[in-house]
């Protein structure tokens, strides 16, 4: 009887230890949040950022450095640096596989201490009337989102 119990216990232990880790291979969402937290909270400079992101893919005339996702070729970060490599401002566009990590609700919880408030405005263009929605935080971070509350991009400007 004891032998049977030991076998069952062993099988149970094996089953538990071989359960697949739900977050494998460090998904991109964690990396993106790491970089955002690094810039906003730990003052990451250009060298530190590019040690994670690699060199920028493009530099705009206003000296904004653009970083694209290597697989989808879609824009990830746009970062403006001072001459000494300190970050002046950045924007970030969540990728398809990061939508859950960058939902409006999760951002609100994560940035609770930044005292963010929902804002909206109606903009009249020549042939259409647009409604804009954003989350404005006291730390100069802004999250722009759609009418369906899907996050489009976020920006941060250092004071």
């Amino acid at each position: 009887m004891n032998k049977k119990l030991n076998v069952l216990a062993l099988l149970f232990l094996i089953a538990c230890t071989t359960t697949t880790n739900p977050i494998q291979g460090q998904p991109q969402a964690l990396t993106s949040w790491n970089i955002i937290d690094g810039i906003m909270l730990e003052n990451w400079n250009k060298d530190k950022i590019e040690s994670v992101l690699g060199h920028s893919d493009k530099v705009l005339t206003d000296s904004t450095n653009l970083y694209f996702d290597q697989d989808t070729k879609m824009q990830l970060f746009a970062i403006e640096y001072k001459a000494d490599g300190q970050v002046v401002s950045f924007s970030f566009k969540p990728q398809e596989n990061e939508v859950a990590e960058f939902s409006l609700d999760k951002i609100k919880i994560r940035w609770k201490n930044f005292k963010c408030a929902d804002k909206s405005e109606q903009v009249t263009h020549r042939d259409y009337i647009e409604k804009r929605y954003w989350l404005e935080c006291q730390n100069q971070a802004i999250v722009y989102y759609s009418n369906k509350k899907e996050v489009s991009y976020l920006t941060f400007t250092r004071k």
Binding site: V88, E96, V99, Q122, I129, K131
Partner: protein, 236 residues
Amino acid sequence: MKSAFLLFIILPYSSLTFAIDCPEGTRNVIAHFRSDYTRIDGTYVRSAEVKESCRKYSFLRPSKLLFLHKTPTAWPNRNEKFIDWSAKEKQEISNILKSLPKALTQVGTLKLHRARTSKWEGNAATSLPEENIITFYNNVSSYKLRNVLTHELSHILWKNLDQNEREKYFSIADWILNSKGEIFNQRAIVSEEDGRTSPEEDFANNVEHLLTNKNYDQKISPLIVNCLKQIIGIKR
């Protein structure tokens, strides 16, 4: 959960052909590699090779046309004078709507208003996409009604698209977001010059040209055309 479901839609825009003939009201999702991701509920989804399939639009609703003569509630251009529709105008619009793709027309209740003159000189129509409202002005007769209607319906379609689809258009159409959150375009050629003002206006211009101009390929790149065809669900 809905957003998580939409994560399955990954369309490689480099491909220009569809193997499956999808019925109207659905669009092709081309075979592609799907990266692993975590759903909002925490479920881990493994990466996979997704086969080509047809997918229904999430926003399609049976269309209902309302021809209205009063000022829409919350209409910002308060000085515009709203009037009644003529029977001929109603018939023309109804006929055109029947010939347009479902992605543009099956949007639920479409509220069509009629006013004398736009606040903006030379403007034939204005839409309020979030309310499914389009207002037509007297001078619409100077333009091709099909073009104007297609353009304004494209604004409503843009509002109906999920974030991933908008982002794909943003990327394919060479829109750039700078570090301060300003959006601008880098394309040498646009189908209409005001398309440089926003991705939404650019999208509406390009859909209008694609569906109404036989020579659209002179002003819209093949990559954008393919992206729009996938979004609208048309093959021609």
